[in-house]
């Protein structure tokens, strides 16, 4: 896919800036891995070019070159770079965010904390059958479709 291990590490170094740990919520790097990033990029072609653009953008930033490489950036620098990219390359930036968000919210431990239960047979997901008493008012209305 034309993105190497170092690129993935560079990319991964930003994920906690995107989703930090707050209260009971884990940060992105606590639930997603570099392998997850490789998987989503290998299997979903639409992300490749935007991610390459993201990486090129980051590499060109003076802070990335001066401080000792992308992976050594501090959080303030990362926030600065993300803010800049969001304003100048919004399409690519949003797809970068999409990758992180979709991976993060695909994880079971995140589902447990936020209360997303996809087990279709659990009692929590059982609905009451349709009750026609709800139709009491509207069903008394005279038919109003146009006769033609």
């Amino acid at each position: 896919m034309d993105i190497n291990n170092n690129d993935i590490s560079n990319l991964f170094s930003f994920v906690d800036t995107v989703i930090p740990s707050i209260d009971e919520m884990p940060s992105a790097s606590e639930v997603i891995s570099k392998e997850d990033l490789v998987w989503i990029l290998e299997n979903n072609i639409k992300y490749i070019d935007p991610i390459k653009d993201f990486l090129s953008f980051v590499k060109k930033e003076p802070a990335s070159r001066v401080v000792g490489g992308i992976q050594e950036l501090n959080d303030d620098h990362r926030i600065e770079i993300l803010n800049l990219m969001e304003s100048v390359m919004p399409v690519q930036f949003n797809l970068f965010i999409e990758v992180i968000y979709l991976l993060y919210y695909s994880k079971e431990n995140v589902h447990e904390i936020i209360g997303w239960n996809s087990d279709e047979l659990s009692d929590e997901n059982k609905m009451k059958p349709f009750d026609k008493t709800i139709l009491e008012k509207v069903s008394k209305r005279e038919p109003f479709w146009k006769q033609v």
Partner: protein, 533 residues
């Protein structure tokens, strides 16, 4: 040179909503019928529901948009000049594998808009001509719903009870009652109970579950497999490149290519196109010959013209309740509101719209802005708080507008850009009209009123949903006059005997509801006309 295949009485190109229905009806006659389908058979066990990564798939390999999916069977659609992106799915069963199965009928007035409102044209058929075919289709697809809707003519008993409204649906219903507005439980081809071998919803599960997808009718199961028992043949992964005629313009058959690149000529007595409102004009315009230099069946110049979608506006409301899970239940086949369906001369638009209620999405989609006007949950320190505020806390109303036919909204083919099978790509030109804009704006204001009455504390609006081109209509218009239409009231082209179009392309006007039951009713009617019934 293509390999010649033995003669068939009837070739149907496409196996989706219309192709499946028509094939079943024709298969009962003893005629030799073959469907040629560009996509593969689809295994219902392969729906992405129930996997934790289903939201990743639904934004990629199971996206509605073929330009995003880029599957083997998809062709690119050149849509940069269209306000709305066309959506479709290629498989045996077509887009009925990837829909909400919201299945309202057109109103009788929808067939008479010229007479009633002085716009567009009347259809050459009426609601009453289609009524019995709607009923047959409901029986075959299996309709969950309930009779008595005052906004529509009485209809045959629904096969199954309505899908559950849920406490959120009841909120909308009660709010509509308070405003004195119409609402009704949606008719749906999602089975609320087990139905003819299909696993029912049975009031269980989130909308993302595999069971949900399996409970939704798709024509491979409802029509095509029963038709195969009558002798129907299905050729999957085969793309039709051209419909051929002889020098006198008489129909001969179709040329198609399989996924190994082998080309065939299938001679046929009749050819029926069921490739949707983009695929059908694409094929007709690509089938040029000495007899038909402008493309087949195009003496009117209307093949590809009058493209209609249903432009949608989306209005979502965020609610504060902690006791209601707004993500539980069917996604968008819950409640329909038709208070503003007909023309009101006091408004600044003609015709009208419906509301289609929809629910909260999964966590990934919520984070990406679904339900909040497309505004992505902010990244960084604010992320978790804002996510919590939205997650499972919004419901929406889609404003589905009637789209009037306009010549400049159209499908063309680009002779210089072809797919892997050498078929020119379709290029779409579409601009939302002033009438539609005014109509959608009215719908947005009404939707905000209803959501506020239901108790939401914040609304978000998307004035026109770009990725909402589910309904593709009008590009091979039905009419009496060959100068002003492509097919007659039997769906046979005016120009070429024995060539038929049965998908949404033939729609004279679009109405303001999801079109699938009407597409299928027209296809069943056309089959009866072909059989002389």
């Amino acid at each position: 040179m293509p390999k010649n295949l033995p003669y068939k009485d009837i070739v149907i190109v496409g196996s989706g909503a219309s192709g499946g229905a028509c094939a079943w009806r024709l298969s009962t006659s003893g005629a030799s019928v073959v469907i040629i389908e560009q996509g593969p058979w689809f295994d219902k066990n392969n729906y992405p529901g129930d996997s934790n990564s289903w939201e990743i798939h639904s934004k990629n390999s199971f996206d509605f948009n073929p330009n995003v999916r880029k599957l083997e069977a998809d062709y690119e659609i050149l849509d940069k000049e269209s306000d709305i992106h066309p959506l479709m799915y290629s498989a045996v069963g077509g887009s009925t594998h990837h829909w909400t199965a919201h299945t309202p009928r057109f109103h009788p007035s929808d067939f008479r808009v010229k007479t009633l409102d002085g716009v567009a044209d009347d259809w050459p058929i009426s609601y009453w001509d289609l009524e019995k075919y709607y009923d047959i289709n409901d029986e075959m697809m299996g309709c969950s719903g309930i009779n008595g809707d005052p906004a529509n003519p009485p209809r045959s008993p629904r096969q199954m009870p309505p899908l559950p409204l849920g406490p959120d649906g009841e909120r909308i219903a009660k709010a509509a009652d308070k405003l004195g507005w119409h609402w009704w439980p949606s008719d749906s081809y999602q089975a609320s109970e087990d139905y003819k071998g299909r696993v029912g919803w049975n009031n269980h599960g989130t909308f993302a579950s595999k069971k949900k997808w399996q409970s939704i009718a798709s024509t491979d199961h409802t029509y095509i497999k029963p038709a195969m028992k009558n002798g129907l043949e299905v050729r999957e992964n085969c793309a039709v490149q051209e419909i051929t005629v002889d020098n006198s313009g008489k129909l001969r058959g179709v040329v198609y290519v399989d996924n190994k690149g082998v080309q065939y000529f299938q001679e046929a007595g009749k050819v029926i196109l069921a490739c949707n409102g983009i695929g059908t004009p694409r094929l007709l315009l690509s089938s040029k010959s000495k007899a038909f230099p402008q493309g087949l069946a195009n003496s009117s110049g209307l093949v590809g013209k009058n493209l209609m979608y249903h432009p949608y506006a989306s209005v979502s409301g965020i609610f504060a309740d902690k006791d209601i899970n707004y993500s539980l239940g069917p996604l968008a086949n819950i409640i329909i509101v038709q208070e503003f369906y007909e023309t009101d001369v006091s408004r600044d638009f003609v015709r009208g719209y419906s509301f289609q209620m929809n629910r909260s999405h999964g966590p990934g989609h919520t984070s990406l802005g679904v339900g909040a006007g497309g505004k992505i949950v902010p990244w960084g320190k604010e992320h978790h708080n804002e996510f919590k505020r939205r997650f499972k806390k919004f419901l929406g109303l889609a404003v589905i507008s009637e789209d009037l036919p306009e010549l400049h909204n159209r499908v063309e083919i680009d002779e210089n850009l072809k797919d892997k099978n050498g078929i020119p790509l379709p290029r779409i030109f579409y601009k939302t009209s002033k009438n539609t804009r005014n109509l959608l704006d009215h719908g947005i204001r009404s939707a905000e009123k209803l959501l506020k009455e239901a108790g939401c504390y914040e609304t978000h609006v998307i004035p026109t949903l770009e990725s909402a081109g589910w309904h593709l209509m009008g590009t091979a218009k039905m009419g009496e006059d060959p100068k002003n239409s492509v097919v007659n009231k039997n769906c046979e082209t005016h120009d070429v005997e024995n060539l038929y179009v049965i998908d949404g392309s033939v729609f004279t006007t679009s109405a303001a509801v999801n079109p699938t039951p009407t597409i299928q009713a027209v296809a069943l009617m056309a089959a009866d006309k072909i059989l002389g019934v």
